[in-house]
């Protein structure tokens, strides 16, 4: 994976990751985007929850299309060579014609390469959409994978290939799966969100391993922090990983979350996220 040369880019993309779900990744992404006046990009396309908090007016919707093979039955001899080369079992031969299972198709083109009769062409179908709008005074966009579609990568790629200039906060899918890997290909820096527990640490270690592969600057935000020394802090110290800041454990934050409220709307929490925003600038060394 090549490094992205900042000199050549007009935008700065910060990916917000977490090893597991439910660590507060969306809470931190949305509120931090507000504090920074940045754009908020929700790439967690299977469960894009950021708009529940930012509540933007959606002004623009684009479809995300992927290619799939279309078989010309006049030319097809039912030889089955395309079935054999398809690594995804998207094609099958029932003995009386080739069947396509479009949701399994990755649109790779292998079947078209091997078809001797020129019977394979490509059509396009929608797998998701991208919505854009303004909420709480910032530009927000999100990718949504259509229900029943198994592959999120095309939607993620589509939203990230067309990012606007400026500072983009990218709310990534949880975990270290290929969806996250795809998101990171477009990132110039990363924030790793974790909790100060053994579970949080275990998942953080994996997230660090992932970000290291991309050689981009990153820092950690500890959510639900108890203010004490803890295993995550000592891990970061040992590994010389910068801690951008912490979000304290609090009942009022949990309640605001459950109601879908923005934390940045309240005075106390505004200071908290302004502080995190400053910490982020220092850790990622942007000017």
């Amino acid at each position: 994976m090549e490094d992205i040369d900042l000199e050549e880019e007009d935008n700065l993309n910060i990916a917000v990751l977490s090893g597991k779900g439910g660590t507060g990744k969306t809470t931190i992404s949305t509120n931090l985007a507000l504090a920074l006046g940045a754009k908020y990009i929700d790439c967690d396309v299977e469960e894009p929850n950021g708009f529940l908090f930012l509540k933007p007016n959606i002004v623009n919707t684009e479809e995300v299309m992927v290619e799939y093979p279309v078989i010309d039955e006049d030319k097809c001899t039912d030889c089955g060579v395309c079935v054999d080369v398809c690594q995804f079992n998207a094609l099958a031969s029932a003995g009386n014609g080739i069947l396509l299972f479009e949701k399994l198709c990755h649109g790779c083109g292998a079947c078209e390469i091997v078809c001797k009769y020129g019977a394979l062409g490509y059509g396009k179908r929608e797998v998701g959409r991208i919505e854009k709008g303004m909420g709480h005074g910032i530009n927000c966009s999100r990718g949504i994978l259509n229900i029943g579609e198994p592959m999120a990568v095309p939607v993620i790629r589509s939203i990230l290939r067309n990012l606007d200039d400026g500072l983009n906060i990218i709310d990534c899918p949880p975990g270290t799966s290929c969806n996250v890997v795809t998101s990171l290909r477009y990132a110039d820096g990363a924030i790793l969100v974790t909790e100060p527990t053994k579970f949080g640490l275990h998942d953080l270690e994996r997230a660090v391993e992932l970000v290291d592969m991309f050689s981009i600057p990153f820092g950690v935000i500890i959510n639900k922090d108890d203010g004490r020394e803890n295993i995550v802090k000592s891990y970061c110290k040992d590994r010389q990983i910068e801690i951008i800041g912490t979000v304290p454990y609090s009942d009022s934050i949990a309640l605001a979350y459950s109601k879908g409220e923005m934390l940045y709307a309240t005075q106390d929490n505004r200071a908290l996220f302004d502080h995190l925003a400053m910490g982020l600038g220092e850790v990622l060394e942007w000017t």
């Binding site: 079935v83 995804f88 079992n89 998207a90 099958a92 031969s93 029932a94 003995g95 009386n96 014609g97 069947l99 299972f101 949701k103 399994l104 029943g148 579609e149 198994p150 592959m151």
Partner: protein, 120 residues
């Protein structure tokens, strides 16, 4: 006529496996000769589309009847299109499954299970 049953083991004394796409073996009986052969399910080693891989394998084996627990929509579509009949059965010893099929006690699967994600 060949009958294939999704199975956890390799003989008629093993149990029927309710999974189709990810069962370990198919026990196949030829009703004319009474011969039984066992094949490893190709779907088991497919990262995605296991039901399709398993169905394709049985189509290629020339099977005319499939007995299993549930069929996903992809496998169902392919099996239906190929003219193979599929029957539903609970977990029991394959020998008894064949007997039940012989006496016409099994119900034909006329609709697929849930339309789930095909990938992975």
């Amino acid at each position: 006529m060949k009958i294939a049953i999704s199975a956890t083991g390799q003989t008629v004394d093993s149990m029927l496996d309710k999974r189709f796409g990810r069962c370990q073996y198919f026990v196949i009986q030829d009703t004319e000769t009474g011969e039984v052969e066992t094949v490893e399910n190709k779907g088991l080693t497919s990262e995605g589309g296991a039901g399709i891989a398993a169905s394709q394998q049985l189509i290629d084996e020339g099977v005319e009847v499939i007995i299993t627990g549930n069929l996903g929509p992809n496998a169902f579509e392919l099996i239906e299109k190929s003219g193979i009949k599929a029957y539903k059965c609970h977990e029991m010893v394959i020998r008894d499954v064949l007997e039940k099929y012989g006496s016409g006690e099994l119900l034909e699967i006329e609709e697929s299970g849930p339309a789930h994600h095909g990938g992975h």
